[in-house]
Amino acid sequence: MSALTRRHFLARAGVALGATALARSAFAAPARIVVIGAGFGGATCARYLRELDPTLAVTLVERERTVATCPFSNLVIAGLAGMDRIAHGFLGLRAAGVEVVHDSAVAVDAARGEVRLAGGRRLGYERLVVAPGIELRLDAVPGYDAAAVSAMPHAWQAGAQTLLLRRQLAAMPDGGVVLIAPPGEPFRCPPGPYERASLVAHYLARHKPRAKILILDAKDGFSKQALFEQGWAARYPGMIEWVAGSQGGLVERVEPARGVLVTESGFTEHRGDVVNFIPPQRAGAIAQAAGLADESGWCPVDPRDFASTRVPGVHVLGDAAQAGAMPKSGFSANSQAKICAAAIVAALRGETLPAALWTNTCYSLVAPDYGISVAAVYRVDNGTINAVPGAGGVSPLDAGADFRRREANYARAWYASISRDTWG
């Protein structure tokens, strides 16, 4: 038995023991579930835990009074929506019986079943769900450090960064250059940088028509690429140029003070009037502090129930988790959260979780009336999450304007619906 397998076995044995103890004491205090992070993963899990078993004491720990989503933040950046459109409060979750605590989780004591908060409070749990999203790696690309973030906003965590990038675009001169530099895989929201380029182009075409967008990519290909490129040619001819990583797109160093991205071993410097540098990422800080992440920076989990393979009694959801073929998206996190909630309820009852399916659907807006999508259904086979063969795929390349318009409308309806499903 390898170290990992053994650890995993022990973790599951611990869980089984916990479940038995709980099942025996039906009249004891309700099982306590602590959820860290109120994004698409954490909020959905908290909400559905309470729905599936209203006797559970569910506590949700979230630093912010309102959370802002990355989905639809590109509309804010492009001046097509305000921050209120992407901000969500906690009235719905509280109405569902979730206790919401506004604080930061700073440590997990798995042996005692306790989370320590920055404010000093300790929360005991029978099960812990960690859904912290991403942490930006400010040590990965020379020059892109904590100070660089305010000169070259990443805007990959929605909030002040979203508005900063918006202001920079508004202040940019006509004829200026916008640089967008997406990271290599894996990262949050694979089609996001290209939707951003699209909607920024939509803004520029109306307000600064001589401006250009240059995408310097770490990768040699990207999500929905053919659809995006078709849309750019149709809607923003000549405005967006994409450079593949192996063709000089890979950014090796940044110089925030000069607005410069350096590529090709220092032989080429690209200067932007606005620079949106999206750095490499890893699982959010609490996942690192709690020992949930491996050397990749992301958290390995049992694909069936998203239980950590490293720390017993803890589940990891959403962007922070290594979820096989599932992309790091809000929809993926929402889907994982529901199955995880069911798995926790089943385990506490000493039942086996029935076979599950996971789903992802991601819409991107090429323009407000031009939507494209990718969809897939996933299942566990051979010990990992794989897409179900024969299903899924992207919007057809040969679709007409009506199909694109319908998908744009579905994108907006999707955002409203998943927001309601997640935060109530």
Partner: protein, 101 residues
């Protein structure tokens, strides 16, 4: 194939009704397949809400998306990932849910 889905569905609907009447234990087998629908089809949303709809109708629509007789945008891509038993279970789970949440 269509008849098999419908037959499956009828059995599951009566099962789901009995479970609901029993009161306590949620239909986890239905939940881990069907709850994904609610991400886009939440109650009160612009994309057709599905909770409380008639199970046989839901199963027929999913079956139509899967075999290409019903047009759609993402639904044909998603429905192709489902087998007969899964379609029946999803339809029964959605049908058994309360409409307002």
């Amino acid at each position: 194939m269509k008849r098999r889905v419908i037959l499956f569905c009828a059995t599951l609907v009566s099962l789901a009704a009995r479970t609901a009447a029993a009161g306590d234990s949620p239909d986890l087998a239905g939940f881990v397949l069907g709850s994904a629908c609610l991400t886009c089809h939440a109650a009160g949303g612009a994309i057709a809400p599905l909770e409380g709809r008639e199970a046989v109708g839901l199963a027929e629509q999913l079956d139509g998306f899967r075999d290409g007789t019903r047009a759609g945008t993402v639904m044909p891509r998603l429905a192709r990932g489902l087998d007969d038993a899964q379609i029946a279970r999803i339809a029964a789970w959605l049908a058994a849910r309360e409409v307002s949440r």
